[in-house]
Amino acid sequence: MPQRDGTPRAGYQSTTVAQARVRESDVTLPQESWIARYLTPRRSIPSSVYTILSVLGFVGVLAIWSALSYTRLVKPLFLPTPTEALAALWELLVRYGFLKDIWASTYRILAGFAIAAVVGVPLGVLMGSFKLFEALFERLIGVIRYLPASAFIPLFILWIGIGDAQKIAVIVFGSFFPLVLLVMDVAANVPRDYLDIAYTLGASRWQVFWKVLVPASLPGIVDSLRTILGWAWTYLIVAELVAANAGIGYMIIESQRYIETPRIIAGIVTIGILGLVSDTIFKQLYKWLFPYAERVNP
């Protein structure tokens, strides 16, 4: 079976006699089965098929949603129709200043994420590079990571009040610890040979750190940041649980109180869209910063 990934195998090129014979008699190879084409592990599929399938995923969810809601199979109180949700979103935007909420939430996410990144990335690199730092922090962070951020809300309120700082603190708490561990792994997995080669080229410890460990870790760091920014969005509701007067999470909590299900759905969809946008920005950033890298890690 030639052309498994669209390119002929090197071994194939040398079998000129066989090829010639095939060409002469104009034999067509038997068609590959559907299963062989689409269900061989790791085998790539045509990009058009890929795009169609990924759209189909969304369409599928929308279809099930529509089927359940338009038919009134599920009570509108529990599940509004897509049109109702869209209408709610429109109303929120034009009548209730929802953009202000979006901005308030985005600001909190970005501020919390930035703080976590500014402290977490250097710490993670140090922990991945020096056993000393790893020994000092790894276990500690491993434990804290499992503590629920929501459990700390009373403490945050006690320490820093109920303003924006408290909301940002929740985001920082939720994203800092996993970020450190991800970045640590990235730095720790830089091949040992990279370091050894630098030493034999005359590098000092300092130079090995800055000229090998750091640049070798950068793509992985950006990838970790992308993952963590995604997680930060999932903390939004928790962050805006207490004493908020704006924000997507706040809007959702308020809507729950008045059983405004369409608005809840509208809020969730908005978070999804914002998450998708930030993810896409990071993917583009990765491509732009690291033209030498193979691809964005899945």
């Binding site: 990279y194 050894d196 080669i197 034999t200 080229l201 005359g202 090998v212 030498y292």
Partner: protein, 268 residues
Amino acid sequence: MSDILIDHVEMMFAGQRGMPPVIALQDISLAIADGEFACIVGPSGCGKSTLLKAVAGLVRPTSGRILVGGRLVLGPGADRGMVFQSYTLYPWLTVRQNIEFGLQLRRLRRDERRRISDHLLTLMGLEGFANAYPRALSGGMQQRVAIARALANDPEVLLMDEPFGALDAQTRTVMQELLTTIWEQYHKTVLFVTHDIDEAVFLGDVVYVMTARPGRIRARVVIELPRPRTFATMTSEAFIKYRNQILAMIHEESLRAIQQPVNKQAQG
């Protein structure tokens, strides 16, 4: 002067998970003259890489000492360049930047760096690839860049750990010829580890055969094949005689290496 003197070197690694300690090298003594091309062959796991890393200063021997150019090796340095089997080019640097890496560390002037990397790019037949990233290069080309990167520093000693081990047979032959040509020009002291006996005989002035673990020097075979060596050398009668001689020794050692644990089991 940049001769290598390995003086009663022993290397022991702590055993992992309750296993007894591993004696990787035992009482290794050898002397490689300035400008000599020395090859080391031996069964897998006999400590060849460990010995090379010890000369590079990347690991410290448990006992014994290593002198390069009369100076005691205490750590790694730019006077001993190294090439590994695995592809170790820095993926974030272009071919030229990889070659200039050591020069950059020494803060050499830009035009000076250029002059050296241009020369090496030509020497290695990589002119068209100065601005390519390593991942766009074939394995053979990557190893040529790795050799160029080591040569750029103009080290006194070149340490090579199976640099062609991952290449296909044809590419390997081409690389061997390239390396002899370069060495015949520059006459650096080379310590070259390989699994491939043909490669050792073709390249070396002298071939050291190591025993199975714990690694010791079993034999020193001086290869008196005329230089310059070319592809024709490989078919000469003398070449085949050397090869068969070393092959027999290696075969014996490899058998011993395989039988070792079996014997132990039988005893225990």
